[in-house]
Amino acid sequence: MNLQIKPILTALRRHKSGTILIALQIALTLAIVCNALFIVHQRVERVHRPTGLDETNLITVQNRYVGKPDTFIPLMKTDVATLRNIPGVESAYVTNAFPLRRGGWSTGIQTEPDKTKDSLPSALYFVDEQALATLGVKLLAGRNFNPSEVVTVGPQTTPAPAQVIITKAIADKLFPKGDALGKTLYYAKGKPSTVIGIVAKLTVPWIDFDHMDNVTLMPVRFDSGYQQFLVRTKPGQQDNVFKAIPKALYASNRMRVLPEKTGIRTFETIRAAAYEADRGMAILMTVVCAVLLTITAAGIVGLSSFWVGQRRKQIGVRRALGARRSDILGYFLTENFLIALGGVIVGTMLALGLSQWMLKYFEMPRVSFTYVAVGVLLLLVLGQLAVFAPALRASKVSPVEATRA
């Protein structure tokens, strides 16, 4: 097959509008598709971001006590005991927040008692000695809390217990030499907390946070009417425990609200809810890409067919002058390739422009070159596939056409 690029270009110059339309469509499609695929990639990556937890067999309970007693601590203790006594429950504890809850408490950590600047932000999880087991988080160094270390903190008070467990991320940032264990941190002015343990990974409750892995576990019972319980079940017991929880809790104390939709949820539900918008965006962009590529391919088929129809006589003359079928096929494939090439060159610039614009207005990361390259390849292949049928039809034009008026 001899590829006569120059005569093809000359012919294209005589069909400017059709050429420009196909190239433009390919360019715009490339611009949208590679950005959209990049968004899909990012969102899918986010949706699967690990929390550091063992997310299977984990149930969350959102509980609000009714009424305003002097203290909620006894109610909380009873409830934790009730949950731990449900058959099939491995462990349970009461807390204020957990990963992907999208609501919680953060504060700045200082390494000196009075310094008020340059603190390191950290999410705070109030826990007890069963928390590590329930979350399925492993200690890298140090020890777990003792039940005796758990202290009560009142509302509108900044908690600052004597012992804390921090994530490796915090330890590495504050103590780059790796000697965080046993060091003193300040979560409230003048109140020292000693690092007694370091966990490998645990994420903050929010899904958009500058320091996703900065978490401090505090042995604290927070005296408030609004509490979260986390329950780890024995394998295979999740469904039974799920059903047993509301019964057991209402049986021990009716004066509470477990909200209908958000009261008792498995961690799978929590994760799905947290990344709802991301998953939706990924679905939307995938659909857009699929439809867009289909429409572009259909457009190429339509225009190429017209083109072939218009040039039947010319093709007949070529055939009469000795062109083989493969020459005609090659002619149209090459022609489409040249147009698509022009399209993807313009499209690459448009794609980068669009990415730049989204970076500016939506603070989205710049599209990676891999995605542009994948998009370019995708469209070149799509173009060849789309033009194949019309080109094949052209190659079947009989030399007799040359003689027809």
Partner: protein
């Protein structure tokens, strides 16, 4: 002639069903994608209270100082100290403090479980300011505010649940074991975006079922159910909290003239300057008074996802149009011989324009109908793509239906301009030359 052209157009479209289907699909999908995402965008960017959005103003006074805020934007809420001082000064005709609380409603029937309901603690003026729709009774009075009265306004839904929809004015509602006298029942009310509580809800939420006086909620030491931000640690206890530099209360005012707004702003600046002089703050006054739409804009209520998908689907529509331009060009130019003959037989250029634009218009209508069906499916499918609070706002109303059809027709006629222009350029003589 319109009927003739339409007849010719339909005949020509029937002639190439595949090409026609391609064009109709391109227009249909393009329009449906942009209309579906537009319906979400429209829902998230709309004016929640059009009749009053230009006279309602949110108040921000910087109590944190330039080091603790970003880009000079004061915190979203105010401290209790500032709210009470500004309320007391009464520089705007109507003003209301508001913060979200969470209450458990305990039904009288001991057999029923308590219900958790969203609630707001607010000043009496808020009901009139926000045109909140009463179906029984009325709002509580400023006098009730003064007396820290134990009164409540509930919504229709809660009234249905507690009193089977009967007249409950004067009856009691038990909130966390405390009794409140119901003074009014209002229709379920949750303007979207929930403009007066954007910082705590992100703008999209179901709204509250119970409203109680701000002064009473403070007495009862009800903490905010929303965000609480402190730059300094508060002193211990509720009183310490009230006198802290923690921000958690929103303050709205209603003002009807530029002069009123200027007076109010001057007052706030004076107040902030006074705090600076008194040594409470060591920074220059930083005050923001924004009306509803300015406030929603500043708080970026429209979700990023909503804007991105609108942009992407508009790009999608453009591609569909380019596609249609190409297909129409192919279709029209294939008929160059016919055009030459028609021109020779006396058709003027405008006759050719009319004939082909009407044909394109027919494609537009077909595309619009397909687009409408797809948009309908799309708005149903928004729950797959957008969070429920936002997706439920995207609906196929008459305005959207009209807009969909109009977009489709305008889009296809715009797409037809170039191909039609080319068609009209076909010379009548052309066909006479030896072919």
């Amino acid at each position: 002639m319109f009927a003739y052209y339409l007849q010719l157009g339909l005949r020509s479209l029937r002639k190439n069903p595949v090409l026609t289907a391609l064009m109709v699909m391109a227009i249909g999908f393009g329009v449906a994608a942009s209309m579906t995402t537009y319906s979400v965008y429209r829902a998230t960017s709309r004016d929640p209270i059009p009749q009053k959005s230009s006279v309602l103003y949110n108040t921000q006074v910087d109590a944190f100082g330039p080091e603790n805020i970003e880009n000079g934007e004061p915190a979203d809420a105010l401290t209790y100290i500032d709210v009470t001082a500004i309320l007391r000064a009464h520089k705007a005709p109507r003003q209301a403090a508001v913060y979200p609380v969470s209450v458990s409603v305990i039904p009288d029937d001991a057999g029923r479980l308590p219900m958790r309901e969203g609630a707001y603690a607010n000043s009496s003026d808020m009901f009139a300011m926000f045109d909140m729709p009463f179906i029984q009774g009325h709002a509580w009075t400023r006098d009730d505010d003064e007396k820290h009265a134990s009164v409540a306004v509930i919504t229709k839904d809660l009234n249905d649940k507690l009193f089977n929809g009967g007249n409950s004015v004067g009856k009691q509602v038990n909130l966390d074991g405390r009794l409140f006298r119901i003074v009014g029942v209002m229709a379920n009310w949750s303007p979207q975006p929930l403009f007066f509580d954007v910082p705590n809800t992100g703008g999209f939420d179901e709204g509250a079922a119970v409203y109680i006086p701000f002064t009473r909620a403070i007495d009862l030491q009800l903490p905010t159910n929303g965000n609480n931000n402190c730059v300094k640690e508060p002193e211990a206890g509720w009183d310490g909290y009230l006198h802290s530099e923690c921000v958690w209360i929103a303050l709205w005012t209603e003002m009807h003239s530029a002069a009123e707004v200027a007076t109010y702003r001057n007052y706030l600046n004076g107040y902030a300057a006074e705090q600076q002089r008194a040594g409470r703050w060591n920074w220059a006054p930083n005050v923001k008074v924004r009306d509803v739409m300015e406030w929603l804009d500043a708080k970026k209520v429209v979700p990023k996802e909503s804007t991105i998908s609108l942009v992407v689907s508009l790009g999608f529509l453009v591609i569909c149009l380019v596609n249609t331009v190409g297909l129409l060009l192919a279709k029209f130019m294939r008929r160059a011989p016919e055009i030459g003959v028609r021109r020779a037989l006396g058709a003027s250029r405008s006759d050719i324009y009319a004939q082909f634009l009407i044909e394109a218009g027919a494609v537009g209508i077909a595309g619009g109908v397909l687009g409408l069906v797809l948009t309908g499916l799309g708005t149903l499918g928004t729950t797959l793509v957008f969070p429920e609070d936002i997706a439920r706002l995207a609906t196929l109303d008459p305005v959207l239906i009209l807009l969909t059809l109009l977009t489709a027709i305008v889009a296809s006629v715009v797409a037809a301009f170039y191909p039609t222009w080319r068609a009209a350029q076909v010379q009548p003589a052309w066909q006479l030359k030896s072919n």
